[in-house]
Amino acid sequence: MPVMPDFELLRPDSAEAAVALHASRPASRYLAGGTDLLPNLRRGLADTATVIDLGGIAELAGIRVDADRVHIGAGTTLAALAAHPGIAAELPALAQAALAVAGPTHRESATLGGNLCLDTRCRYYNQSTPWREANHYCMKLEGDVCRVAPKSKRCYAAFSGDVAPALLALDAEVDIVGTNGRRTLALAEFYHDDGMRWLALDRGELLAAVRVPLAPGWSSGYEKLRIRGAIDFPLSGVAVALARDGERLAGLRIACTGVSSRPERIEGLDALVGQPLDDAALAQLEKLVLRGIQAMETTTASVPYRRKATPILARRLVTRLWTEAA
């Protein structure tokens, strides 16, 4: 079995303690479920002297449903998220997205926070050290060229988490703990369009919780395109939240994953609100989705296919939710 790098393991019991430990150790990393970090450590994609295990922090766990919002600790496992009856009933996109991640055993370990902070992925990056060495490395690690866009100054590795688009469509916000205290960000502000710096976390900051507003009258869903039914990152994933008022669209939010360096919230959909969801509206919707994504050669499936399929997924899901809301 290939060898794991050695390191120091720390297990704080509060978010503040975790942040303080992180600040005191120059090369440290947070560990939640480990389903993303451990393979990356093993492949030499992450290097660390200190691992701060978040598993013992009580405040990171648990789901609380209030009158107008749901509060979810970042340490909640995806299995728990998918199985929570309140979430399945009120926020189906979130439950469906959680259930679309990897396989059942991964979801027992993998956490909400981990999936939101998932490392960006690229076929030139998610490889072993000897492979990357043989392929002359890439900008994201040890190299200086982005292999999918050689003339670019930035890295185009793709964000491939399933849960983020669902939460974007559901208008969630996140609580962040740092050495200077706590702050709250709209989830849309949490991501940057950059494969190397895709999270708006300052050094040592920790994602502690997610809050999702409950919106009566809205329905939601998540759909994922992949080559097989499990243990597969999305070639493209689409989340939709939609409100219908009779024959008119009363609200629409769409977010995509796997097709940019961040989960993309699709802009311009407000123009469709107040209108019937006819063929013209659907065509407009497809155009807006296409405009909002930036698929690159980061997966083995081609760019044209992912560009073509993402609007189709969105259209399929919007149509379904629209029909169900009648």
């Binding site: 794991m4 390191f7 393979p39 396989g103 059942p104 055993t105 991964h106 039914g229 243990i231």
Partner: protein, 163 residues
């Protein structure tokens, strides 16, 4: 770097265990290399195949994605822990009876996952079993006989095979 070893205590198949493990060691390596429990298999080491599935506090996880130190204070069940003095666990017996075992290399993980699914859902349907086993790769069986075995455990029916 010097290896940092940590003392851990946990329950393994019903027995208390205490041992020192390097901090970077995975649960899979601890089971196989430190404890000689080779029933749990290495097939990918990256959480992509399910061959190393074990139960931790009643939930199934990929032991290659879990640090051994995280076993501290927990309760582990591995494939070796299913057998009782009376014989094979009913899920193991059903896999044998229904021809679900060919080369058998993925089966410890597959059986751990199947057992967990059945225990948590006594009315498990074939389709639910398919979804529940989606993280366990098998190259020999095409999963059909695996699903037959799971269905048989749930329904209590036998297929009349001979030993």
């Amino acid at each position: 770097m010097m290896s940092v070893e940590t003392e851990i205590r946990f329950k393994l198949n019903g027995r208390e265990v205490s041992l020192k493990v390097p901090v970077a060691m995975k649960t899979l390596a601890m089971l196989r290399d430190k404890l000689g429990m080779t029933g749990t298999k290495y097939a990918c080491g990256e959480g992509e195949c399910g061959a190393c599935t074990v139960e931790v506090d009643g939930r199934t996880v990929n032991s290659c994605l879990m640090y051994a130190v995280d076993c501290d204070g927990r309760e582990l069940v591995t494939i070796e822990g299913l057998r009782t003095p009376e014989g094979l666990h009913p899920v193991q017996q059903a896999f044998v009876d229904h021809g679900a075992v060919q080369c058998g290399f993925c089966m410890p993980g597959m059986i751990m996952q199947a057992k967990n699914l059945i225990e948590n859902n006594p009315g498990l349907t074939r389709e639910e079993a398919q979804r529940g086993l989606e993280g366990n790769l098998c190259r020999c069986t095409g999963y059909t006989k695996v699903l037959d075995a799971v269905e048989a455990v749930v329904s209590g029916k036998s297929c009349g095979s001979r030993p």
